[in-house]
């Protein structure tokens, strides 16, 4: 038990330090550092740093952007990837073995190697925008919302997780539904997906985390302030005089929502990975 607690302390102390420091003025953060007070909300506690954060950066806008981009990516990702895995797992589609192998092959390509050609590529892509009644054609996706969403919807690992999970659902269920006259999409929607809750929770978390945390990609493709996600906001704190209390407040502000969400999904996430997902 002692070892468990020791590991827990090591895992938690920087985060506790961050949360506690976000409530203190800079002077006190440095003053408390040499004692346990560094981890305790004591002394001159206030939300002043948080107020200052909203003055310094358009934090509300950044949060809204990140919530929107992550939510859309997660929802579309769940739909597109589960649909693909469904067909690959439960239907007799000709050539599906080759497709599945090709999909799994993308797992060995690290995103960092794709990022730069991808910037060049999305800058060449066309995009259509409905402007009133006229369809407007534009070239280049740089500096948009879709450039932060569309490339990250399809994900080989999500397809793999769903595929593994679907394999564990008895196929007689499909047969029975077929006899009742259900089409494949209906089987997907009403038979298989309702049983795949844990897989969906896992895919949701594994899609949400990189979407919320993305930094390298928006750094390269988003210039306009009003389109930027939360991680890019960090740069604003190092332009003039650094106030560490404000930095810690902003860091807490963009971390706490994720932690809350994770704790809410925690059980099904861990169970799903443990029971079906990653068996190698």
């Amino acid at each position: 038990m002692l070892v468990r607690v020791l590991f827990a302390v090591v895992a938690a102390f920087p985060i506790v330090f961050m949360l506690v420091s976000s409530l203190k003025p800079d002077q006190q953060i440095f003053g408390d550092m040499s004692s346990l007070a560094a981890f305790l909300p004591v002394g001159n506690i206030s939300f002043d740093n948080y107020a200052a954060v909203f003055d310094r950066v358009p934090a509300a806008r950044f949060l809204l952007n990140s919530v929107g981009v992550s939510a859309v990516t997660v929802v579309l990702g769940i739909f597109v990837n589960s649909l693909c895995a469904f067909a690959l797992s439960r239907m007799q589609v000709k050539g599906k073995k080759i497709v599945f192998t090709a999909i799994l092959a993308t797992l060995i390509v690290p995103f960092q190697t794709l990022a730069l050609p991808l910037v060049w590529w999305v800058n060449q892509l066309p995009y259509f925008e409905l402007n009133g009644f006229s369809l407007e054609f534009s070239k280049g996706w740089l500096d948009t919302y879709q450039v932060q969403i569309i490339p990250f919807i399809a994900n080989a690992f999500s397809i793999y997780l769903y595929h593994q999970y679907f394999e564990s659902i008895p196929k007689e269920l499909d047969e029975a539904a077929r006899i009742d006259g259900a089409g494949w999409f209906k089987i997907y929607r009403q038979v298989v997906m309702p049983l795949a809750g844990p897989a969906t929770a896992t895919v949701a978390i594994l899609t949400f985390l990189p979407a919320w945390n993305s930094y390298l990609w928006p750094l390269m493709v988003v210039q306009s302030e009003e389109l930027r996600p939360v991680m890019i906001g960090i740069q604003y704190f190092f332009q003039l005089n650094v106030s560490w209390g404000e930095v810690m407040a902003y860091a807490s502000l963009i971390t706490v929502p994720v932690v809350v969400l994770f704790i809410a999904f925690q059980r099904s996430f861990v169970n799903s990975i443990a029971s079906s997902g990653v068996k190698g």
Partner: protein
């Protein structure tokens, strides 16, 4: 007693799947009415994901391969021209590139055993049922849900000369240890980054280990207990062989993650001091994004990809199933 006759690689028998169609299902399907429609709806379901992967993984990968041999820039009035091996020639003449290779090798060689080992210990600690197991799982996983950018920022603050780490070191040693300026010193910058990287990512691999541990049949442990084995023997002869597949998965994911080191560097050190923390991906982004040299960055990315392939292939060979 030490030679318990246990299987070296216990297999959990796959549950027989009664739903599986008979082996001649494929030929039957061809004659089934509605076969063509099934094909169409099947492909319709695969298509969205397949098209997206094609557009945003396969095409950029091929493009990157092609661009590496040109002089393309992100925004340039000049037409793109084929320049042969020029980018690679320039890359292999660049001392910073070799420094980056060395740094990444150093990072990977330390991270892989230490992080996977710690993650396994954490998984073993929370694999039993006890009061508060969910609390510990959540706490161990907390650093993983914290973004690497936030983590880097936080540790940047803690690593200062007058920061929390040095204050803790000084307190626990009664003032004997006077910590360095961790990120400002070429000798300590990389170790400092290694420590925070392990802190952030170990929880993720803990979950993968945990998945493997829960796949090992409880009967094997009961059998081992009946034979009166020690806990170490149980680990050595039941747990460790049972984690065969998990081991290679953990190995591969940690290695790929380590080779792609970027976020921490970008936030904390920008490759410095004196190139002591620069990495391949960081160099690629620096030239591709900051200097807009798409082609040169593509060449670096291509070299990086080949490196990842070679390392994964070697690992696969070394961890292959030996019969």
């Amino acid at each position: 007693m030490a030679t318990v006759p246990l299987p070296t690689r216990p297999r959990v028998p796959d549950a027989p799947n009664p739903a599986l169609p008979p082996s001649n299902a494929k030929t039957n399907a061809r004659r089934r009415p509605g076969f063509r429609r099934d094909q169409l709806s099947g492909w319709g379901m695969i298509a969205p994901a397949a098209v997206l992967l094609l557009a945003f993984v396969f095409i950029p990968a091929i493009l990157g391969f092609g661009l590496a041999f040109t002089n393309a820039r992100l925004i340039s009035p000049r037409p793109v021209e084929f320049v042969g091996m020029d980018n690679f020639a320039r890359l292999f003449m660049d001392p910073t590139f070799y420094r980056a290779l060395l740094n990444v090798a150093y990072f990977t060689v330390v991270i892989v055993p230490v992080q996977s080992g710690l993650a396994l210990v954490m998984a073993l600690l929370i694999n039993k049922k006890f009061r508060g197991v969910n609390f510990f799982r959540t706490v161990y996983f907390l650093p993983v849900v914290t973004s690497m950018v936030v983590v880097s920022l936080l540790w940047l603050f803690m690593y200062r000369k007058d920061g929390l780490i040095n204050e803790i070191l000084s307190t626990v040693s009664f003032g004997l240890i006077n910590g360095p300026d961790w990120l400002g010193d070429p000798n300590t910058a990389m170790p400092a980054i290694i420590i925070l990287s392990i802190w952030q990512a170990a929880g993720f691999h803990m979950i993968i280990w945990l998945a493997g541990l829960q796949g090992i049949s409880g009967e094997l442990y009961e059998a081992a207990q009946l034979d009166g084995t020690s806990r170490w023997q149980q680990f050595r002869y039941v747990t460790w062989p049972g984690l065969f597949h998990t081991r290679s998965l953990v190995l591969v994911t940690i290695t790929i993650q380590a080779l792609g080191l970027f976020d921490q560097i970008s936030v904390m050190t920008q490759g410095g001091p004196m190139d002591s923390t620069t990495t391949i991906v960081y160099e690629a982004v620096r030239s591709g994004y900051r200097q807009q040299e798409t082609s040169y960055a593509s060449a670096i990315s291509l070299v990086f990809f080949v490196l990842v392939l070679i390392v994964s292939a070697v690992q696969r060979y070394l961890t292959r199933e030996k019969d």
